[in-house]
């Protein structure tokens, strides 16, 4: 699919008609990804296949590991080797990865994990859609942490948001999840890739102090420390144990408080900068639909139909799922009489909306348990129901 681009072959500038999975791969390449470690799993395998084709041409490396645990460990290693790295998987693979995602969070390692969601639990519906890994993306690994998960609703966004995931992971130094779903991954749409110079690409901040003075986990006001990587003479010390500013293990309540507070706060305090939402016809709405991913497409169709009938309804589309837009939901709860959440799970985002609405408005989930998407008519029926 990629058009020839002699100057920057990593950016396939031009117009394409392609799938969400390929778009996510191209977005990652455009962001500067040079290492992919992965393991085949439906419905994400096309991302690995595309990376296997494209990476070697741009002096990148593709390694198909023996499982998802090795894949995530491998991309963490590659990130410390100084390159942008990623993996792609689906629910069962993500389940295997969560321990090492925790290592990435604790050691503040930038990388991107794409989860093309299918129906679960367990093997579930390998070839059919689910949106059931929302909570897993937030709480999958043990311990206290804040994380970032982003959910695209169309093929263009798979490209744009994959790139955004890399930018966020590099800026805030953590593993970021691109939470796609089977339908987005496999549907074909128009994709426009701009020239490289029009893309915003962020790379990790590097230390400026000499190695003998450098404290690898000492952060400035941004709460994100600059990142020295292997081979630069900084003799980095990286451990999943609670560590002090030198990176040395420090197994005390004080060190734990300091370290864990900071890795949480660097996201909490920058929430406003991170969160992306789409508001559609919400200004005068009395009913709000909150949705994301594939479900948001049908929700938008339902809003259009309802508006034609004169119903004051709008859509809040969560592009960023984590950190959760609590303030926006709180504000919405003041404005509307009802919030409807169509989602392909048994109430994961609904639970969050209930929490953030503080009981100020009626919150109702419209659940599909996986395998099928909502139709606009079904959501419209829910809007019209009193």
């Amino acid at each position: 699919m990629s058009k020839k681009n002699e100057d920057s072959p990593e950016v396939a500038t031009g117009q394409h008609y392609t799938t969400g999975n390929h778009a996510a791969a191209e977005g990652s390449l455009a962001a500067g990804c040079k290492f992919f470690g992965g393991y085949p799993i439906t419905p994400s395998s096309e991302i690995a296949e595309h990376m296997a084709l494209r990476l070697p041409k741009i002096n990148g490396n593709f390694v198909q590991f023996e499982d998802e645990i090795a894949s995530i460990a491998g991309i963490l290693g590659a990130s410390w080797g100084g390159v942008k790295s990623m993996t792609a998987t689906s629910g069962p693979g993500y389940s295997l990865m969560v321990e090492n995602i925790g290592l990435g969070l604790m050691t503040e390692t930038p990388c991107v994990i794409v989860n093309v969601q299918r129906g679960g639990p367990s093997t579930g519906l390998p070839t059919l859609i689910g949106q059931q890994d929302v909570m897993q993306a937030r709480w999958g690994s043990h311990g206290d942490y804040e994380t970032i998960a982003i959910s695209p609703s169309n093929v263009q966004e798979c490209f744009d948001l994959a790139l955004e995931c890399f930018n966020l992971s590099e800026q805030y130094r953590l593993p970021v999840t691109l939470l796609m779903d089977e339908v987005i991954g496999h549907m074909s749409e128009r994709l426009v890739i701009p020239p490289k110079e029009e893309l915003t690409i962020i790379s990790r901040k590097k230390p400026t102090d000499p190695p003998d003075k450098h404290l690898p986990y000492k952060a400035d006001d941004s709460l994100v420390p600059p990142m020295a990587t292997a081979g630069e003479g900084y003799r980095v010390m990286v451990t999943g144990l609670t560590h002090d500013e030198r990176g040395y293990p420090d197994l005390t309540p004080e060190a734990q408080d300091k370290a864990v507070r900071r890795i949480n706060d660097k996201i909490r305090l920058n929430k406003d900068k991170i969160i992306k939402l789409e508001e559609y016809m919400l200004d005068d709405a009395k009913t709000a639909i909150v949705s994301f991913g594939t479900s948001a497409r049908a929700a938008k169709g339902a809003v259009n139909r309802a508006r034609k009938k004169g119903i004051k309804v709008g859509l809040l589309r969560l592009i960023t799922l984590w950190p959760f837009p609590d303030e926006k939901i709180d504000q919405l709860a003041d404005q509307v009489d009802r919030i409807i959440i169509p989602e392909i799970n048994y109430g994961q985002v609904t639970r969050e909306v209930e929490r953030a609405a503080h009981g100020k408005t009626e919150v109702k989930g419209d659940f599909r348990l996986g395998g099928a998407i909502h139709t606009p008519q079904e959501i419209l029926k829910e809007i019209e129901r009193n």
């Binding site: 040079k34 290492f35 470690g37 084709l53 070697p56 041409k57 002096n59 490396n61 593709f62 390694v63 590991f65 023996e66 499982d67 645990i69 090795a70 894949s71 460990a73 491998g74 991309i75 963490l76 290693g77 590659a78 990130s79 410390w80 080797g81 100084g82 390159v83 790295s85 321990e99 090492n100 925790g102 290592l103 292997a230 081979g231 630069e232 003479g233 900084y234 003799r235 980095v236 010390m237 990286v238 451990t239 999943g240 144990l241 040395y248 293990p249």
Partner: protein, 287 residues
Amino acid sequence: MSEEEEFQLIESDVHPLDGYLREGRIPHIFCPACSLGSVMNIIVEAIKEAKLENKKVSVVSGIGCTGRISGYLNYDSFHTTHGRAIPFAIGLGVTDPERKVIVISGDGDLFAIGGNHFIHAARRNADITVICVNNFNYGMTGGQVGPTSYKGQYQSTAPYGAVEEPFNLPDLAASCGAVYVARWSALDVRRMKDSFTEALLKKGFTFVEVLGSCPTTFGRRNQLAEGKKILEYFHEKSEIQHGADTKTVGISKDSKIIVGKFIDIEDKPTLTDNLMAVQRMSKAKGK
């Protein structure tokens, strides 16, 4: 100066290798008469002997007593999750073909929870040197039976003696494709240093098993409660057989312990070689 003082050792507070250790991290956490300190010492000696550029050396380890070694060494060092040191090291290694990545971890980490990664790394001839300190049990968690515990060995989760067959580590490594395989006991410090040096200078998947002394959780339960008794046991039982058929080097209760360099293969393409070849092919194909 009195006559008595003259015959004393010279007191010092700095060791010549202190610069290769993280400042302020010694004393380490290892028990008295645990051989992990010796292995750490010898790794540093071997890196010096191999004349590797310090900047280009990375040490990766998993979890467990041996896993703590990375954190003491003053190189780029990575203390990862249980069992996952090898895939982490592969990712780290492929980002710079000049980088020498050393994985140092224990038998439980590398061969129980991480066994799958070990065999695949050997199969793909990843450019890493894996040093396994085999102490025959899980030390840090209190002495549970492990994948290298021999039949009849007493451990906290084998109160009636271990009943399963242990792994023969050199044979496993050799059969999966490792290009260099050696085994030494913790007593064979000089030969261990030579082996580490050879392994470090070789491209591809190189493996050295070190039989470590763990007096606290292994020895205490198996009539070897002191480090010196374990070393004495190694001294008494070990026999050097370079080039021995790895099938014959399994360890059982009271058996001979065959040590030596078993495998040293030349010119086998490594993972890095293969990835470079793929890069060349992809450009030639122009697809």
